[in-house]
Structure formats: structure tokens, C-alpha cells
Symmetry: C2
């Protein structure tokens, strides 16, 4: 489902070159629940930006769901994301002028599904926001906004689910509920990649990839430790 | 330093009333390092908004650093925040068109300190962002942006420091470094209040306040558990 070959990403900033990723080879099968761990600035968000074609690599190849998106044009990348990727951003990226329900419906509409309304309601219930569907992002707490962003990605029904710190703003109990939802998506055959620095989360994954200064330092089953 | 008397905060949303806080009595002395724990939506950010006069209570009184700010006018609240409060927001709130250094200088300039430049540099070094001072927020990772927001609050030198999830985007090691900085501020005599749902953090506090559905459910030394 996801294949990255020798991916590097560098940012040239005047005389300074920032290496965000270097020599990344990665393959994720459908149905796999993978956690990516790493310190702040180690390249986690950049990795998700490569897989979702939100940003282009400096070197290497990105193939997702059989499609090579490395050099795709903007229009192709937009269509690819719409049909293939469900993304939970680190900064939520909700539309402030839409309610929780409308934010989720917008994502579902993108896939032109007939049952947009009921899907949006179902997913918002599943993240514990049933009573708050018609409230706006500024009327919700930080964790509640994050849960709207999670519901939006789940509602797309897309085969690849990318989550950047999906429980950063949530308490342990609420966080566990969200992880169970993501795990269920993997069991339905989606490829699920969760970026986090919370080691508790890595225990439930099938595989844990550790990033350090832009390189994969380990890749295997979660530590029992 | 901080005194809240019978604080309640309600939001009327058509036929629904959301109770964010109810009957909160709280006193924090200078030099105290207090952690506020609680699930998503339990009222943590609302509590900080009351103390910093960013929002007004529905009932009750707010007195900080000897000043009753409950019914203060906008201009008085602005001056109060500028001289009394250092705030680390849950959503960072950096100025996107200013570099990391300029974001911090802006906060220091507000206090009209002569040494604005060197203070900004010192604080950014202390959060590990020395080499990235002249980069813009969109050129930094989530955790790096959070560290700029932390540096900005530290740079004010104000007597009350409020932090909403200061380590939510940081790995454990970077998070510990930040907590040590906040603890050092308390030892210098500032009143420090850190909102989080990370129980590890509560171990290093002097006091842990647990919030549940807008009420204080416990207040005492950290659990040894
Ligand atoms: N402007 C608003 N209008 C309506 N309800 C609001 C508003 N701001 C906050 N609330 C509600 O008040 C309650 C407390 O919100 P608050 O932001 O204080 O929670 P929190 O403990 O900080 O949660 P989190 O851990 O998710 O950030 C929540 O149910 C929230 O939806
Ligand atoms: N547009 C950009 N310009 C310059 N450098 C960038 C840019 N985006 C990211 N970087 C740098 O690339 C490195 C990796 O960033 P990335 O956002 O992937 O980190 P991360 O692992 O997600 O960190 P965090 O846990 O703090 O979110 C960082 O050093 C960051 O400053
Ligand atoms: Mg990131
Ligand atoms: Mg909050």
C-alpha cells in the first residue's frame, strides 16, 4: 500500500541546509498498524507529508496504493489525496466557519458519498462528540477540536490513514478510545500510520519505526519494555 | 498571587447551556509549581482564561498579584496581562510573519526592556532552538513551534506563568527539559500553573489539582503512585 524508496528531504535556507529526512526506505501493507516514534524535529511530520504528497521529496520515489505520486502535478496530487488518504494534522486544520458536523461532511462530500449526513453523525458519535456536532471549532476545547479532526479523517473511508499526534491533546482514557478506533480501521484492511512521541501508544501497534535526525534507526515489533 | 472565589463559567448556546467551570475556589502562592490535570473538556483551558482575564467568569471574583480583574475594562486587562502574565497557549499563537527571534522579542518589547535582543537569544538557546532563531513558524516542526511559544512566555519575566499543555507536542526528553525550566521559574518566586493530562508531569509539581466536568475534584501533593 505504501512504498518509499531512498527518500531524502532537504530545506535550503540561505547558507544553512536543514536535512529533514535522509535515505528513508519504507513499505507498509494494507491492514498494518504502524507507529512512528521520534524526538521533536526528527522528521515525523515530514514523513507523513511525503506519503500524502503534501510535499515533494528532494530525492527518491513515493508509491501509494499502486500510484507513483513523486512527480505528479498538483491536480493529480489533490485527486490522489481525496480518494486515498485520510489525514489527521498535528494542528487540526479545521474550517473555523463550519460546525463540527459540517467539517466532517465536507470531507465526506469530497468522496461524493450519498449518505454524507449519516456518516458524519456516526463518526462524531464514535469520538464522543454527539452533543457538540453543531458547535464551531472556537466553541470546543483543544481535545474536542482534535477529535473533530479525527472524525473527519475516519469519515473519508480512504484506504490509507495518516495521523500526526492524534492524542497529543487528549487525556489517557479519551486517547485509548481513539486508538481503538484507528486499530479497528487497520483490522478492516486500511494501512494506518500514527506519528507520536507517546511510547504507551506504540505498545498496541503491529510495528514501531523509530526516527532520529531524519533517518530510520529501528523498525520492528513494539518493545515489551 | 492568584485567588479565585466561587468562579463559574457557562456558555449559553441556544437551548443548550454548557457549564465549563462551576464553583471554583483556588489560591496559588508565589513560588508554587501547580499542575492541573483533567480529561478533555473538563475546563482546564477555561480556568487559565479566567486567571489571565482573557475571558470573564459568569460568577465569582478573580484577584491576581493583588489586582481584582473580574470587571476590569479591556484596556486594563491588556496592561494587566502585559505586566503580570506569561502565557503558553495550547495552540501556540505565534505570529506567522515573524521569525522565532522576533516572536520572542515582541513579548520582551511589550515590557520595554532595554536588553530585548540578548534576552530573546538566551531564552531560545535555553529551549534548544539556538540554530533556528531566524526561521519562521512554518519552517519549524510542531514541537519546535511549541518551544518558541514557551520561550516567549519565559522572556516576559512576569510574576505569573500559565502553561496550557506545554509538552503536548514534545518527546519525553525534550519535555523534561522544558519542565525543568518552568520549575526553575517557580524557584525564582513566580507562581507557575501547568495544565496537562500527562500524569508523569504531575510528579514534579508541588501541588496537583484534578478537574472533572468543571469542578475541582482533588487538590494536594502529587500521588506517589
Ligand atoms: N466558546 C465556547 N463556547 C461554548 N462552549 C465552550 C467554549 N469554550 C469552551 N467550551 C466548552 O467548555 C468545556 C471546557 O472547555 P476547556 O477548553 O476548558 O476544556 P479543556 O479541559 O481545556 O479540554 P482539552 O484537554 O480538550 O483542551 C468544554 O466542554 C468546551 O466544549
Ligand atoms: N518548511 C521548512 N523549512 C525548513 N525546515 C523545515 C521545514 N519543515 C520542517 N523543517 C525542519 O525539518 C525537521 C523535521 O521537521 P518535522 O516537522 O518533520 O519534525 P517532527 O518530527 O514532526 O517534530 P515534532 O515532534 O516537533 O512535530 C525539523 O528540524 C524542522 O525544523
Ligand atoms: Mg511534527
Ligand atoms: Mg484545553
Amino acid at each position: 500500500m505504501i512504498t518509499l524508496k531512498s527518500i531524502s528531504k532537504r530545506y535550503e535556507m540561505g547558507s544553512v541546509t536543514v536535512v529533514a529526512l535522509h535515505g528513508i526506505n519504507l513499505h507498509v501493507d494494507p491492514g498494518e498498524f504502524v507507529v512512528v516514534l521520534g524526538p521533536s524535529g526528527s522528521g515525523k511530520s515530514t514523513l507523513l507529508n511525503m506519503i500524502s504528497a503534501l510535499d515533494s521529496p528532494t530525492e527518491g520515489t513515493v508509491i501509494v496504493n499502486g500510484q507513483d505520486v513523486t512527480d505528479a502535478r498538483q491536480g493529480e496530487k489533490f485527486a490522489f489525496r481525496r480518494h486515498t488518504i485520510g489525514f489527521i494534522f498535528q494542528t487540526f486544520n479545521l474550517f473555523p466557519s463550519l460546525t463540527a458536523r459540517e467539517n466532517v461532511q465536507f470531507a465526506v462530500d469530497l468522496r461524493r458519498r450519498r449518505n454524507g449526513d449519516s456518516v458524519a453523525e456516526e463518526v462524531l458519535e464514535s469520538v464522543g462528540l454527539g452533543p457538540r456536532m453543531d458547535h464551531f471549532p472556537h466553541e470546543l476545547s483543544g481535545g474536542e477540536q482534535q477529535r473533530v479532526a479525527i472524525a473527519r479523517a475516519l469519515a473519508t473511508g480512504n484506504p490509507v490513514l495518516l495521523a500526526d499526534e492524534p492524542t497529543g491533546e487528549l487525556d489517557f482514557r479519551t486517547g485509548v478510545q481513539i486508538l481503538e478506533l484507528l486499530e479497528a480501521q487497520a483490522q478492516e484492511g486500511k494501512a494506518v500510520l500514527v506519528v507520536t512521541h507517546n511510547r504507551e501508544i506504540s505498545r498496541i501497534a503491529d510495528r514501531v519505526i523509530e526516527l532520529g535526525s531524519g533517518e530510520i534507526v529501528s523498525d520492528g515489533p513494539p518493545w515489551e519494555g
